[in-house]
């Protein structure tokens, strides 16, 4: 996953949304859907459906087997790569083989970024090859590379304090990520800022390139990439992540008063627009096939490792949750739609295209649940709605609906965290669809995230199975319950009438 700005509307927006909702309910102008008419001959789901679903997923190793194929036969799969197109084909073929319905690829135009050859070398005070990965979407250096003195900033205030000393220099942003803490969480959000905005901030002050400390709390000489955002900045300078070890080393040298010079060489380039696709498959609902519960993840990955936790795990969870329903011949009241988005890591074009392609049925999207925190033990769900009151009401419903499930999962399951969703459901949330995120034990996620260490051996099969069961159980609850998660209109977009 990547960091997304909170998709919450402002307080003013919330109030307007509430007013709009009340108005709509008052005048009966919500986007109506057809009244529930049970399909003739379609029997109701068995009372123990969710138990059978969880049992079937636990009785097989199917998600892990899918993940093995994705990781070992295809490997990492950045937007625009042949590997991603192989993954698209594989996912569609596998969904068809698993008996999903309406399996299709929905074209998406993505920008292709190519890393190319890259290196960073310490020139002064002594020669040393630095372990690095260019940041995603970074521009390259001139062919001969950039050689410049390195200045150190651990905070934005330190960058400001450097003043004119940034000009013509390489800025090293060395802000350590704290270790995972059960109360404070991962520390990723508070640390990733310089990866996202460091090159932009430094360019505005006249720097020629940026190095960051890899965004991770634990390194064994492990570089971590991830997207950088230039926004509308005019001068784009290259950015690369050093390992924690090498960033800390350079910082120590600079703090000890030594002159540090680095030679950075990156052939990174934007290779323009290329075709890609979201992959979609369904279990059609027996009563309200037109009402849709989306479960999904992103199929693309960074161009290192195997994209096992990020987000191969989410991909196979959603695929296997649907496959299990077919294995058991279970059909919920509403449609469960698996969506595997393309281009989450460096563009988000897949998520945007999904919204554009399905705008006519967005008000019939009950919820969109993604997994993008890795294939770890599940602990609950995040829920993000535009409207705070509707969000509170929905959390209460989920609390009630998931009570019968709690006995199937250990601990105080599930945690329900309001205001949490992921990058791929963000554009849906903007349009009023309740966004959800599978919450897992994320204590190790950022050790692997965006690095060559995000490989199949890091995924514990039993944990992936549990996460798959949790996603499947929640999908069933959302698709089967008599009541919708949000009342008609509650999940309407911010400005009623906007498509």
């Amino acid at each position: 996953m990547k960091t997304t700005p909170p998709s919450k509307q402002s307080v003013v927006g919330r109030v307007l949304g509430l007013v709009a909702m009340v108005a709509m309910v008052a005048i009966g102008c919500g986007r109506a859907v057809a009244a529930p008419v049970p399909a003739p001959g379609e029997p109701p789901a068995p009372a123990n459906a969710v138990e059978r679903l969880i049992g079937s997923i636990r009785g097989q190793n199917a998600a892990y087997e899918k993940l093995t194929r994705l990781c070992d036969d295809i490997g990492h799969r950045i937007s625009g790569s042949a590997a991603l197109e192989s993954a698209v084909e594989w996912a569609a073929a596998t969904m068809r083989a698993d008996g999903l319905e309406n399996v299709r690829t929905e074209p998406v135009v993505v920008r292709r970024w190519i890393r190319g050859a890259e290196s960073a070398r310490l020139v002064e005070p002594r020669p040393l090859d630095l372990v690095m990965l260019g940041l995603g979407n970074s521009v390259g250096t001139p062919p001969e590379g950039i050689t410049a003195e390195v200045v150190l900033a651990r905070t934005a205030a330190e960058l400001d304090a450097l003043g004119d000393r940034v000009r013509g220099r390489i800025v090293l942003f060395d802000n350590p990520m704290p270790s995972f803490d059960a109360k404070r969480g991962t520390g990723y959000g508070q640390t990733v800022g310089f990866r996202l905005r460091g090159p932009r901030l430094a360019a505005e002050r006249g720097a020629v390139a940026v190095l960051i400390r890899s965004v991770t709390a634990h390194s064994l000489s492990t570089p971590h990439t991830g997207v950088t955002l230039y926004g509308d900045t005019k001068v784009r300078i290259p950015g690369a992540a050093l390992t924690v070890e090498h960033a800390a080393y350079l910082a120590r040298l600079i703090q000890a008063g030594q002159k540090v010079v680095v030679h950075l060489k990156m052939a990174a380039r934007d290779a323009g627009e290329v075709p890609s696709a979201n992959v979609v498959g369904e279990i059609r609902g027996r009563e309200h096939p037109e009402e849709i519960v989306v479960i999904g993840a992103h199929l693309d990955s960074w161009d290192v490792g195997q994209g096992a936790h990020d987000d191969g795990a989410g991909v196979v969870m959603a695929m296997d949750a649907a496959a299990a329903l077919r294995r058991l011949d279970l059909r919920p009241r509403r449609t469960i739609r698996v969506v595997l988005w393309t281009n989450e890591e460096n563009g988000g074009a897949g998520a945007e295209q999904y919204v554009a392609d399905h705008r006519a049925e967005l008000d019939r999207h009950i919820a969109a649940l993604e997994s993008d925190m890795g294939g770890f033990r599940p602990r609950g769900f995040g829920l993000d709605l535009q409207d705070a009151a509707a969000e509170r009401a929905a959390v209460e419903k989920l609390r009630t609906w998931t009570k019968p499930l709690a006995k199937h999962f250990p601990g105080r399951w599930p945690v329900l965290e309001p205001g949490m969703a992921g990058a791929d459901v963000g554009p849906l949330v903007e349009k009023g669809v309740p966004g959800m995120l599978l919450l897992v034990d994320e204590s190790k996620y950022f050790d692997y995230h965006h690095s060559p260490a995000d490989t199949l051996d890091k995924v514990e099969p039993a944990a992936l199975t549990e996460a798959t069961a949790a996603m499947a159980a929640m999908a069933w609850v959302l698709a089967e319950s008599k009541e919708r998660l949000t009342p008609m209109g509650a999940s309407a977009p911010r400005s009623p009438g906007t498509p």
Copy 2:
């Protein structure tokens, strides 16, 4: 550190040794030393000397500051490198500046091994650059590299079962190292065999090269090097370590029935004999300056990372233990000699040369205590003597002598483990000197060991300080106690009379 074969003599040898000792004691032919004559005007050490010693080490950050210089100003330092010679100069100059006596470099001829450019690439079933490090002392490949199918062996039995399928192939030894376990220890000893002997074993069966899984339980795409031993095998084939991730990946492909082909290219070569040196400095004893307690570590490292835990930490512990005695103007009854051996990692020439240079005074070596398990929290000491009865008696003495120290260290300190010493004191143990090893919390040592991740940031200053205090306290106890650790003759070499 590297693994050393147990230096214990056989049961027969033990019995003979015991007989010899009894005989020597009976006929009074032990190697006599001058009777203790207090130097005129040299006052006895204060009763609270060891408390002051520990206090001084805890009150400063001096060991860590030394380690910072060694890691950041010099860096990794393989035998024969300019960096190692810089380290020799730095260590001698620092010892002199700290006021140690008789500081000198003792010449050692070492073999220089040069890694050169190296790479491994998966050719079939799909192209992928593999993360690797050639094994230390490995021969290179032909300039064009070696391209061959890979066969898998996780055990020696599997290698045998491959029979003729090894011929002309690359053997992948994929034996996982178990995670650290407080009872069973690190699992290094049971795993390192294929690094040490894999190329030899495979060559004898007609293989053209060897790949091993890096000897570590935890990897974040981290390759680990280490020496391989050809012994007297006639055909030498190259050996390299893959990351755990890539070794496991290749193993999965092979187990899934896929044909795996790798292209291995290594320019490694033996560059012949070059001069190096052990670095020695002393705190001369006030009563028995001719009796010597050695404390030390190895100054060389592998050619990756910074050699921070292996064995920069041990180097600065020994240096700072002696420096603290000078800071306090404390002089023990016997001489404490700091020895920084060269060439531990890929030859052991420094340890052998020390024994040759000092053979005339080996019977006046009270003990030789090394640290080579990293700069972690100390937990006790290993003790290794040729003679089992003498070892038991010495452990009992240590138990009594260290009782007053226990209150200065947390937990049930110290653990005393018979039969444990390290590689550099091995040749001394063979000559009858009691060998000792500082035992530490080794739970993370092999995560870093021989890898690019063995860097200063992995060393916790407070832990290094405690380890330094433990080494200093034990050195003091050995050098100050009225009684010797072993009676005259008990630590004589296996065959009395052999030089």
